[in-house]
């Protein structure tokens, strides 16, 4: 019952995202055709032709109907900077983003939760003070600045632009090593920022549980300190962090706009940046629908998982 309700809610959210995606880019000021043809001499005839090509001359409700029916078919329209279907462009960039942001997020979540647990368990210790201090600093520092700093510090040791070099041998191993080499700096940047957030969240969540009576019960039973922590404290304290983790997984798809831009990583984040500088309305619209949809779906997954991990929440 509950699951059905949640799924219904998620479906409604997706619908809202689709509607919002359409109208948001219709109410922003500026004429798409003008920005499309910026810097080129145009005649009113070519402008009219472009309008007709993108369906911008139709009444609003007809535009919406076209947009919505094609959206259901998986067609997100055509990007006018790339002159290709938006869906195709997005799909092409999905791989690099998943590689960079996906791996970084998994590492960051694991590392962050672990650091947070240790810091809370030894609250007030030197370890706690250092972890919390460093986390707060990393969280506060602007991502692009951190990225640029890393580039400067490491010099030429790690590549700082793009995903692969043009002159690498075509065999799989060399290619993989090259990509991995390029991956180092942007993923360190991302891990540092995201991991700090998790360390802080997990730390405060576990601190809330530290005085729970069931931990005294566990100690009285004769459990070792680390067993008290692993078996009793963490399974309870991790519950509030679950939602946050999955929200972050949802954001993976939107890429890391600043990090990808700083390191010219050819992912969705950089695509977002390029679409904004256009501005490429159809591309932005498509990106919005895809990324917001990912967040909604991940949130639904978080709900389901929360029900599995916490017996007090009824899933069915």
């Amino acid at each position: 019952m509950r699951l059905l309700g949640r799924a219904g809610g998620a479906a409604l959210s997706l619908l809202m995202v689709a509607v919002l995606g359409f109208f948001l880019f219709r109410v922003v000021p500026g004429d798409p055709v003008v920005s499309m043809t910026r810097g080129r001499p145009t005649t009113p005839e070519t402008q009219a032709a472009l309008r007709a090509q993108f369906g911008l001359d139709l009444p609003l409700h007809e535009q919406f109907f076209r947009y919505f029916t094609s959206l259901l078919r998986g067609d997100l329209g055509t990007s006018f900077t790339f002159r290709r279907p938006v869906a195709e462009v997005v799909l092409e960039r999905l791989g690099p983003t998943l590689l960079l942001v996906g791996t970084s997020t998994v590492i960051a979540v694991a590392l962050g939760l672990w650091l947070g647990v240790l810091a809370a368990w030894r609250r007030g210790s030197a370890f706690d003070r250092v972890t919390t201090g460093v986390s707060l600093t990393l969280w506060a520092v602007p991502t692009f600045w951190l990225g640029m700093l890393l580039m400067m510090v490491t010099g030429d040791f790690f590549p700082s632009r793009g995903m692969r070099d043009t002159d690498t041998a075509p065999d799989f191993l060399s290619q993989a090593l090259d990509v991995g080499h390029h991956l180092v700096l942007p993923s360190i940047t991302l891990v540092a920022v995201v991991c700090a957030e998790y360390a802080l969240v997990m730390r405060s969540s576990l601190l809330e549980e530290l005085h729970a009576p069931y931990l005294t019960t566990a100690r009285a039973k004769g459990l070792r300190d680390d067993l008290v922590r692993r078996r009793h404290a963490v399974p309870n304290a991790v519950l509030p962090a679950i939602t946050l983790v999955f929200l972050r997984f949802g954001l993976v798809v939107s890429g890391a706009i600043t990090t990808e831009t700083v390191f010219s990583w050819p992912g969705l984040g950089l695509l977002f940046y390029d679409a904004l500088t256009g501005p490429d309305y159809f591309l932005l619209q498509g990106l919005l629908v895809v990324t917001a949809g990912a967040v909604v779906v991940m949130n639904l997954l978080a709900d389901v998982l929360h029900g599995v991990l916490d017996p007090r929440v009824k899933v069915v």
């Binding site: 009576p213 069931y214 019960t217 100690r219 004769g222 459990l223 078996r231 399974p235 519950l239 017996p311």
Partner: protein, 513 residues
């Protein structure tokens, strides 16, 4: 078996346990009584060295002749649960909410390599085997307490420490749990150290009794003698604070002629989904009358009260207040709510921790748009609730006040709106015996001076005996018996009322000698 020598515990500069000497022989039962802050739980926790690191423990804690204070961590872990185990207050959060109770019972057995089965332990505490697969939230308070007991017995210890094992359970369940503990302690020849603020609970279970006050042991002896002839004034105060049903000296309500009805409930039915919580109830509260609604948890008494206050819609039936039907919504409902005010059980959670006394009391006035003379009205209400002079308390935050003072703030918040009916849900259940008497007296004085009627929801029959004019007994959504307090409590007509009365613990020698 267990011996405490000159046990002293400090938290920082504060001495919470002061030079306590206690001894418990194998197979004996000892009750440790005291109010909150007397240090009784600190004594209990020091036995297995479970106090937080900030505590400084001096003296000796000898368990089977070995000092717990100087044990290595490994030795201490081996002793914990195997030599002595603890029955915590299971109704609260002493069980891990995300693990099955069976796993939690089995955990110490695996740890200490004790043979045995969870199913057998559950049978011993009279729970069906399949409950091993349940999570704590799926069990009732009494069942959780049974799980705690099964867990404590898992490694066959010779000493069991029970820390407030029946607090927060209603009388009937409390009686069952106490009977179970008494039986198991006798069968297994266990030594029992039981901690409670409730002298009557200890009197029923323990052969010996020790009383603590301000960290010191003020009296100890055979339970029978201590209860009958208390030598220390604090013990005397504790024994006197417990109302004995049938004792005229403990009946504070004066007899008065039957008043005109203020609130009338007629054939009220309230459903929660498919569950019928209140099933055709008739109830009357007169002007200035104190009516006690007694019953076990789950009997529907709180639902009935919420419906009377207009917080829930009845499925059918009528609630008539001062001759008019209680409005279902809008301005009229708001006006009605002003006349009926609620006092909850736990003042520390009923008060917003960041609101001063003044803000807490003034909130009702603000909600009802009575902004004139706010200061004067609040001061008057606070003084009515006997926080005098009010200026001393108005700027205080809840955590700076004692439990009794907090409850007075809650009462002041109700009084400031000049209500005509007070609905009080277990108003003294979380208070210490000495404070409890004062709050009870306050409720009576308000009735006398303001003509304030009260509907008292409680499972505490002693409280009903102290102040109620009339008593209504609720069982499974029905009122099975109602009438003048003396009639219902002294000559009960219904079997259920008799069962409730039989479950009330009395000060006296333990049932099993």
């Amino acid at each position: 078996m267990l011996e405490l020598r000159n046990l002293t515990v400090h938290y920082g500069q504060k001495r919470v346990v002061d030079d306590v000497d206690l001894a418990l022989a194998p197979g004996r039962t000892l009750g440790l009584a005291g109010e909150s802050g007397s240090g009784k739980s600190t004594v209990a926790m020091s036995v297995l060295r479970l106090l937080p690191r900030t505590a400084r423990v001096d003296g000796q804690v000898l368990l089977d002749g070995e000092d717990v204070r100087t044990m290595s961590w490994g030795r201490l872990r081996a002793v914990r649960w195997a030599s002595a185990s603890v029955v915590f207050q299971g109704a609260m959060h002493a069980l891990n909410p995300v693990r099955r109770v069976g796993e939690q019972i089995a955990e110490p057995m695996r740890l200490h390599g004790t043979p045995g089965s969870v199913a057998e332990l559950l049978e011993q505490v009279e729970l069906p085997r399949h409950k091993a697969r349940a999570y704590p939230h799926e069990l009732s308070g009494g069942q959780k307490q049974r799980v705690m007991i099964a867990m404590a017995l898992a490694c066959g210890p010779r000493l069991v420490i029970a820390d407030e094992p029946t607090t927060a359970l209603d009388v009937v369940v409390q009686a069952q749990v106490l009977a179970l503990m008494t039986r198991l302690v006798a069968e297994r020849d266990l030594a029992l150290l039981m901690i409670s603020h409730d002298l009557s609970v200890l009197a029923q279970t323990c052969e010996d009794l020790a009383v603590m006050q301000h960290g010191r042991l003020v009296e100890r002896g055979r339970t029978r003698e201590v209860v009958a002839n208390p030598r220390h004034p604090h013990t005397a105060a504790l024994t006197a604070a417990f109302p004995v049903i049938g004792d005229r000296r403990h009946r504070w309500a004066e007899p008065r002629p039957a008043p005109e009805p203020l609130l009338r409930v007629r054939d009220l039915v309230v459903d929660y989904g498919r569950t019928r919580a209140v099933d055709g109830v008739d109830l009357t509260v007169g002007h200035g009358e104190v009516v006690a609604l007694v019953g076990q948890s789950g009997s529907g008494k709180t639902t009935l009260a919420r419906t009377i206050m207009g917080l829930r819609r009845p499925s059918s039936g009528r609630v008539i207040f001062d001759g008019a039907e209680v409005p279902r919504g809008g301005r009229a409902l708001k006006a009605f709510r002003r006349q009926v005010q609620l006092v909850l059980q736990d003042p520390s959670s009923a008060l917003n921790p960041r609101h001063t006394v003044f803000e807490a009391v003034a909130e009702g006035l603000r909600v009802h748009g009575l902004r004139e003379d706010e200061e004067a009205l609040v001061t008057a209400a606070v003084e009515r609730a006997e926080l005098r002079p009010a200026s001393l308390y108005l700027r205080s935050l809840p955590h700076e006040l004692s439990g009794g003072q907090q409850q007075r703030v809650v009462i002041a918040g109700a009084l400031v709106l000049r209500p005509r009916l007070l609905v009080a849900d277990e108003p003294v259940a979380s208070l210490d015996a000495s404070v409890r008497g004062e709050v009870v007296a306050l409720l009576l004085r308000l009735r006398r001076e303001l003509g304030l009627a009260s509907l008292l929801i409680t499972h505490d029959l002693g409280l009903a005996w102290q102040i109620a004019d009339r008593v209504a007994v609720m069982h499974q959504g029905n009122i099975v018996e109602q009438g003048p307090a003396e009639e219902v409590l002294l000559t009960p007509a219904h079997d259920y009322t008799r069962a409730l009365l039989a479950a009330v613990p009395v000060l006296g020698p333990p049932a099993t000698g």
